[in-house]
């Protein structure tokens, strides 16, 4: 009865569509899945039956025990988290301030300044690594998280300013006019009226700032490779370098690095798309 009114072509089309989507989802997830299941196996299990789930015979946590005992995972994770979160906060604050000034005030060179600040979207900051290293050394910031944060802020600002400027153009004129009529100062207008309004764009800016920072290997390798200052990516790279023949440890460390970021992502993925579709990026 129910199916009577469903078009046959629709059914077959839906089947094809879901087949395509499922296939690609499998392609995207299977490698990750494979690493995680094998992290819970003994060395024998990993090599003899790599594609099966761990069972009573092959189940083993030796990889995790080894990783947690011999590396400083919590510290790496904490370093990455600190660098990422502090950078995001600074980028959001400074970028929204600049975006506000660029979109709201008419001043000589407005367009040029906007262009100047946009150059960084297209030019990778890595090309300046040689001088960044010298600069950081001169500032005495080598091997500190501060060095990473400064560079990441500079790297994240251009795109954030660009996205937020576009977004601020959409803020209705009435809102700020009303505030001005009430005699509210320019700073207060920004912090009390404008900042709360850009929330939809925050998730988007945060994700686009976060992905490259969290995953970066280059600057941690150059600026803060020292003990105790490694980010998770560098820590993993070094740890795997040390235990490369020990697949239990390798797979366990990969899993430990993957799982937190995936959980974070699952929590925030809805905000991300909402931010993207709210017109912040076009």
């Amino acid at each position: 009865m129910m199916t009577k009114n469903i078009r046959r072509e629709d059914m077959s089309r839906a089947a094809i569509v879901h087949a395509i989507l499922l296939t690609y989802t499998l392609v995207a997830l299977y490698p990750i899945f494979l690493v995680i299941i094998n992290a819970f196996k003994s060395r024998k299990g990993i090599f003899s039956a790599p594609m099966s789930l761990p069972n009573a015979e092959t189940f083993s946590l030796e990889g995790f025990t080894k990783v947690l005992a011999r590396s400083n995972f919590e510290l790496f994770f904490f370093n990455s988290f600190t660098v990422t979160v502090v950078t995001i906060v600074i980028v959001l604050l400074l970028a929204s301030m600049a975006a506000w000034a660029l979109s709201e005030y008419k001043f000589p060179g407005n367009t040029w300044l906007a262009l100047y600040l946009a150059v960084g979207i297209m030019v990778p900051i890595r090309l300046g690594s040689v001088s960044i290293l010298n600069l950081i050394v001169e500032l005495g910031l080598i091997n500190t998280l501060t060095a990473l944060i400064l560079v990441y802020v500079a790297q994240g600002l251009p795109l954030a300013i660009f996205i937020l400027t576009e977004f601020m153009h959409q803020i209705p004129k009435d809102l700020k006019e009303a505030a001005r009529c009430d005699g509210v100062g320019e700073f207060k207008i920004f912090f009390a009226v404008i900042l709360p309004l850009i929330r939809p764009a925050v998730a988007t800016v945060a994700v686009f700032t976060m992905i490259p920072i969290w995953n970066d290997l280059w600057f941690p390798l150059i600026l803060a490779p020292g003990d105790g200052k490694q980010t998770i990516t560098l820590g993993i790279q070094q740890f795997i370098g040390q235990y490369v023949t020990d697949w239990n440890a390798v797979l366990a460390s990969l899993s430990l690095a993957i799982i937190p970021i995936l959980i974070l992502y699952l929590i925030f993925s809805r905000q991300l798309i909402r931010g993207l579709t709210s017109g912040a990026v076009k």
Partner: protein
């Protein structure tokens, strides 16, 4: 051209039923308007006819064929959207030609049809423009033109005037009426504006909460609303309602007490066991006059006065707190907080039971009847 038949059309989204079994016959060439408050299911019904939504139950027939599972393009329909939905990257010409191109018509046939439609709608000069370069009214005409060129069996209009300003709305309304006369096509038109419904429709379908309340010509709905909902929805300003008490019933007559204590004898067929119940009395503002000169008389304190020039609307507060609107002549001098009396002929009144269903009116003077 074709007729359209809806047979027990039901629609649900998951567990939520939005249409509860709609029956409707639309004759070939008829202009049908679906009207109702937002959320009543009228747009969903239109989208079902268009084939943009699946049917959960029942049958939909266009020109005698069941089209339940046919895709929109095989139904012979064309639709005009509220937002116009013009393709922003195409010129006016391409917008109108798009459907024909997809149907693989040859170039010269497409060109002929597009230019013909453009002529009818006075779009000849605008064919190379893009939608962003057009005014609201022009866009509206392009949207209609895009429907015309496809020479559909049924035209579907989804609130096409609601994005226009008041003046343009009246003008376009008249154009649509003329277009219908010219094309003699079957049109299904959705609106929440009862004025559009009254002026355009051959047949109005009043919908409420997924049900059809009443189907009929504009005048039938105006004079013979079968439910309190229809009575309240059709007509502007809206019909007045107040609670009255049924005192007695005799052959073809009912005696009621109106707020304030006055009695009135009205020509309704009310079952004897309804005596003693409270029911709703309805009278249209334009059928009330000041003074006590009528079968039905009711008094109240004037609370707001609106002067429109040719007439003056008085808003009365009745003894039970209900409000009544009275249309008085334009020269009326009555002021706020005066107490006035309004009266109407018994034949102009409507009576609705507790479920909102109209009691049958037994005598109906010609001026209060839709019969021509």
């Amino acid at each position: 051209m074709a007729d359209l038949k809806l047979d027990q059309i039901r629609k649900s989204y998951g567990a939520v039923d939005v249409l509860h079994g709609i029956d409707l016959d639309v004759k070939d060439g008829e202009f049908v308007v679906f009207v109702g408050p937002s959320g009543c299911g009228k747009s969903t019904l239109l989208r079902i006819i268009a084939g943009l939504e699946d049917i959960t139950g029942g049958d939909l027939m266009i020109g005698g064929d069941v089209v339940n599972t046919k895709s929109p393009r095989d139904r012979g329909i064309a639709m005009v959207f509220q937002s116009y939905a013009l393709y922003p990257h195409m010129t006016v010409y391409k917008n109108m030609a798009f459907g024909l191109k997809l149907a693989n018509h040859d170039k010269s046939a497409i060109d002929q049809r597009v230019r013909e439609a453009a002529r009818i709608l006075q779009l000849d000069q605008l064919l190379d423009r893009r939608p962003s370069e057009l005014s609201g009214g022009q866009r509206q005409r392009v949207a209609i033109g895009r429907a015309i060129v496809r020479q559909p069996k049924v035209f579907l209009f989804d609130e096409p005037l609601s994005n226009l300003d008041a003046a343009l709305r009246v003008q376009t309304r008249i154009e649509i009426a003329k277009l219908h006369q010219e094309l003699k096509s079957t049109i299904v038109y959705v609106t929440h504006d009862q004025v559009e419904a009254m002026t355009l429709a051959d047949k109005i379908v009043v919908m409420n909460a997924g049900n059809v309340e009443q189907v009929g010509s504009p005048m039938q709905l105006y004079h013979h609303p079968q439910t309190r909902f229809v009575a309240g929805f059709i007509g502007s300003p809206a019909m007045n309602f107040t609670t009255v008490h049924i005192d007695a019933v005799e052959q073809g007559k009912v005696t009621v007490t109106v707020p304030g204590g006055a009695k009135a004898v009205l020509p309704f067929d009310v079952p004897a066991n309804d005596v003693g119940k409270d029911v709703e009395l309805g009278v249209r503002p334009e059928h009330l006059s000041l003074g006590e000169n009528g079968d039905l008389s009711i008094s109240g304190e004037v609370d707001v006065v609106e002067k429109l020039g040719d007439s003056t609307y008085l808003y009365l507060k009745l003894a039970n707190g209900d409000r009544f609107t009275v249309r008085a002549p334009g020269h009326s001098r009555i002021k706020i907080s005066e107490t006035v009396n309004a009266a109407a002929e018994a034949g102009a009144s409507h009576l609705f039971d507790a479920n909102g269903k109209a009691y049958a009116k037994l005598e109906c003077p010609a001026e209060y009847s839709a019969d021509e």
